[in-house]
């Protein structure tokens, strides 16, 4: 039966895909990310269509500050790397190392989120509120949607880490951690596009 895997000799090499349930989750999550891609694509399209619709409000050239965004990008890229290191540890069944890398990922994500909140706060201070112009609305909704994904990812990983703090890697939780890590990479990739399309194109 597909649900049964012999774990007496330790975990299989791909614990996240060893059971049928794990396989289903793995595939289903890729489909989910496919849908998410289109969701973000629509928000990107909206932003590109409206980024010159500044009405009387400030423009992107007036506001965007690349050094800050660069730091944020580095934080998120590094967090993606640490989650990869955690997955390596998971496959080698080193639970302690795994947990450390995961917690570092969470901390980096939190730092990113902090910078983003600071950034939004600054913009509002400089006259770019959510309702200032179509550009403002589309900027805040695109970057904010990404920020909401980061926040959700942080909650998800934290819940998993606390829930499975003492169980070690099992065939039940391995798919969950793996998917959370996949989700985190997705968020990272989206940010790279935001960095390019919103910020780099916004300052020139």
């Amino acid at each position: 039966m597909a649900g049964h895997v012999d774990t007496s000799k330790g975990l299989p090499s791909h614990p996240e895909r060893a059971t049928l349930e794990g396989k289903n989750k793995f595939l289903g999550f890729w489909f989910f990310l496919g849908g998410e891609t289109i969701l973000f694509a629509t928000f990107f399209g909206t932003y590109l269509g409206l980024r010159n619709g500044v009405a009387d409000g400030p423009t992107s050239q007036d506001l965007f500050h690349l050094p800050l965004v660069f730091i944020m990008t580095m934080l998120l890229l590094t967090s993606s790397l640490t989650s990869v290191l955690a997955m390596f540890a998971m496959k080698k069944n080193k639970f302690g190392t795994f947990k450390i890398w995961m917690w570092i990922t969470v901390l980096l994500g939190l730092a990113f989120l902090g910078f983003e909140i600071y950034e939004f706060y600054e913009y509002v201070h400089h006259g770019l509120g959510f309702t200032t112009s179509a550009f403002a609305s589309s900027f805040f909704s695109l970057v904010g949607l990404h920020g909401a994904h980061v926040a959700f990812g942080l909650c998800w990983i934290t819940v998993l880490l606390i829930r499975y703090n003492k169980t070690g890697i099992t065939l039940t939780n391995a798919p969950k951690f793996y998917l959370a890590s996949l989700y985190w990479h997705f968020i990272d990739v989206v940010w790279v596009f935001i960095f390019t399309v919103v910020y780099l194109m916004g300052v020139v």
């Binding site: 289903n24 849908g35 619709g53 112009s133 179509a134 909704s141 819940v159 039940t172």
Partner: protein, 622 residues
């Protein structure tokens, strides 16, 4: 090993079920109720248009009815009715015990239902949405539309989530859960079309979710996406809507094609002509379906180059669709056809759909569309596709799968009467609408003046609607009559059909297949009838069967989403009784709380013991 399942009360069982068969029946019931509701609205609208300058409905009420009729029919009637069959039939046809994510499957149903109910709540809070099912801005933006439109936005947002998660479930089920030997190119065509339709849902409902989010932000939080003098753009909404809206047509019509491709071979006693061509034609239709959205916007002023490109792209869809039409015809050609009710619906689908398809090609000629656009010609065209295509297929599927789902046949005499009354009514209603459009009658008008030569055809059209209504009443009578007097079905295969769903006993055991079948060909059951003993060969010994536990969490998550949506709507109400934020945040807390419980609490399901499987096998006889 987890404990055995406990006995539960009937209501609790249905509220917590994760069984794809029960969910299929729930989709069927919910979809039918919404279908009747939107159908009654259509009847009222046709009564209003029966004579010129009638005062049966006001312009405002009429606009609310057109909006709700379209929205309900597409999102809350056609989609769930197709999902009903997809849920019930797909696992059986691929030889699976359940879907890949039974919990998500239940979640999809409950979220769809709570979204639908949220949309319907609008009637009690100052009237329904009134900007058409396309909700074009600025008519739907904060300056021109009331709170009814917030119900539209949030109701569709919620029910869309349900549709989306269901689609992911179907995709994974079809890829991962097939029985041994059931290769992709042996999948029944209904499974194929459902698979491709689910892909479309995945890539089309997400733009809709994004678009609805933008409209919600505009309406409730004063964003400026669609406000022209604040830098916004009203045409943007049309693009986003139709990037969803055009694939939506294929989301609905492809599974309908699938049903037709099941019923026609079964009652022609012939395998589907050109199976491979059918599969690839479906893929091409789906792919092109994403390339043609702007043909709904020819008169927006996109310019001649864009119009020409989208016109040509649209025309190319006629090619794969034509392939399908001829393959159905040649499936029947040389067959031994039994014209029962299911086959009457399925066979009449073919020429009827052609009538809708040819006007589609006419509409694709962008410059001539300047004449057709937004007239009754368009109304006639898409009703030929949706009623003449999807609804006929749904009725064919209903009569075909009814014995498997409910253990008795629908009455054939009443069924055939229903077919003729409905079919004649359909043509009476919609054929003349082509001419009305060409004679200068725009669509979405609540009345017309008496001196414009439009009276006769409008009258005929309304009479046709009475026939269609009478037909649906006959169906209801049939369902009730057959429940008491209908022929009971005890055999697995009452139609002498070809596919795997007819290999499981009636009523279907909770675990579907006592032993997973070994599939040796396309139309596996037919293959065993010819080359074997008529029974599927088992691919495994009789052993304990792993089953998922039921859960009340899907219902709780959906209730939470209902309140979250309702709270958001309350932000736009004049005098909400309680602070809207309490409702919205409370609803989200319920949803995320239930998701948290689901994530943290491990549920490994239970096993049906071997003894019981063996006992069932003996009882079932095969």
């Amino acid at each position: 090993m987890a404990a055995q399942k406990q006995e539960k009360s009937v209501i609790w069982d249905w509220l917590t079920t994760v069984d794809h068969k029960k969910l299929g029946i729930m989709y069927l019931i919910a979809g039918t109720l919404f279908f009747v509701k939107a159908g009654v609205m259509a009847l009222f609208m046709r009564i209003q248009l029966m004579y010129p300058e009638m005062n049966f409905l006001s312009g405002q009420t009429f606009n609310e009815f057109i909006t709700m009729h379209g929205t309900i029919m597409l999102f809350l009637a056609a989609t769930p009715l197709l999902f009903a069959f997809m849920n019930y039939v797909i696992p059986l046809q691929i030889g699976a015990r359940d879907v890949a994510f039974p919990f998500v499957n239940a979640l999809g149903f409950w979220i769809f239902l709570s979204g639908g109910l949220l949309l319907s709540m609008s009637w009690f809070f100052g009237g329904g949405p009134d900007a058409g099912w396309t909700a074009y801005v600025p008519l739907s933006s904060r300056d021109y539309a009331g709170v009814g439109l917030d119900f539209y936005v949030l109701g569709l947002q919620v029910s869309g989530i349900g549709t989306l998660v269901s689609a992911i479930n179907f995709l994974v089920t079809i890829i991962n859960m097939r029985a041994p030997g059931m290769t992709m190119m042996r999948l029944p065509l209904f499974v194929w079309t459902s698979f491709i339709s689910s892909t479309l849902i995945l890539f089309a409902f997400t733009p809709l979710a994004a678009g609805l989010a933008l409209l919600m932000l505009d309406r409730i939080f004063d964003a400026q996406f669609f406000i022209p003098n604040m830098g916004g753009n009203v045409v943007l909404w049309q693009h986003i809507f139709w990037i969803f809206g055009h694939p939506e047509v294929y989301i609905l019509v492809l599974p309908a094609f699938g049903i037709i491709s099941e019923v026609i071979p079964a009652f022609s006693r012939k395998r589907l002509f050109g199976y491979t061509a059918m599969v690839f034609a479906t893929m091409i239709i789906a792919f092109l379906g994403f390339m043609v959205w702007a043909h709904h916007m020819f008169t927006v002023g996109m310019g001649p180059v864009a119009n020409s490109i989208f016109a040509i792209a649209t025309m190319t869809i006629a090619v794969p669709t034509g392939i399908k039409i001829f393959n159905w015809l040649f499936t029947m050609w040389g067959g031994k056809i039994t014209f029962n009710t299911a086959m009457l619906f399925a066979s009449s689908f073919v020429p009827t759909f052609v009538l809708g398809g040819v006007t589609g090609v006419m509409l694709a000629m962008a410059p001539v569309d300047y004449l057709y656009h937004d007239t009754y010609f368009v109304v006639a065209h898409f009703h030929y596709i949706i009623v003449g295509g999807i609804v006929l297929a749904l009725f064919a599927g209903l009569f075909y799968w009814y014995p498997k789902m409910f253990g008795h046949m629908l009455n054939e005499t009443l069924g055939k009467l229903f077919f003729w009354v409905f079919y004649i009514g359909f043509h009476l209603t919609f054929f003349v609408q082509h001419l009305l459009g060409l004679m200068g009658m725009p669509r979405r008008v609540y009345t017309y003046l008496g001196d414009q030569g439009l009276d006769t055809f409008n009258f005929i059209s309304t009479i046709g609607t009475f026939f269609m209504s009478a037909g649906v009443i006959l169906l209801v009578i049939n369902v009730i009559y057959s429940a008491f007097k209908g022929e009971r079905v005890t055999v697995a295969d009452p139609w002498d059909a070809r596919t795997l769903e007819w290999a499981v006993p009636t009523p279907v055991p909770e675990y579907n297949f006592a032993q997973t079948p070994q599939v040796r060909s396309l139309d596996p059951l037919f293959y065993e009838k010819i080359h074997g003993d008529g029974n599927m060969k088992p691919a495994e010994p009789v052993q304990p069967i792993h089953m998922p536990n039921g859960s009340i969490l899907p219902l709780i998550i959906s209730v939470g989403l209902f309140f979250a949506g309702f709270g958001m709507i309350m932000l736009n109400m004049e005098n909400p009784i309680i602070n809207p934020w309490i409702v919205a945040v409370g609803g989200l807390a319920i949803t995320f709380g239930a998701m948290f419980v689901r994530s943290v609490k491990e549920d490994h399901g239970y096993y049906v013991p071997v003894e019981q499987v063996k006992a069932d096998l003996k009882k079932g006889g095969n």
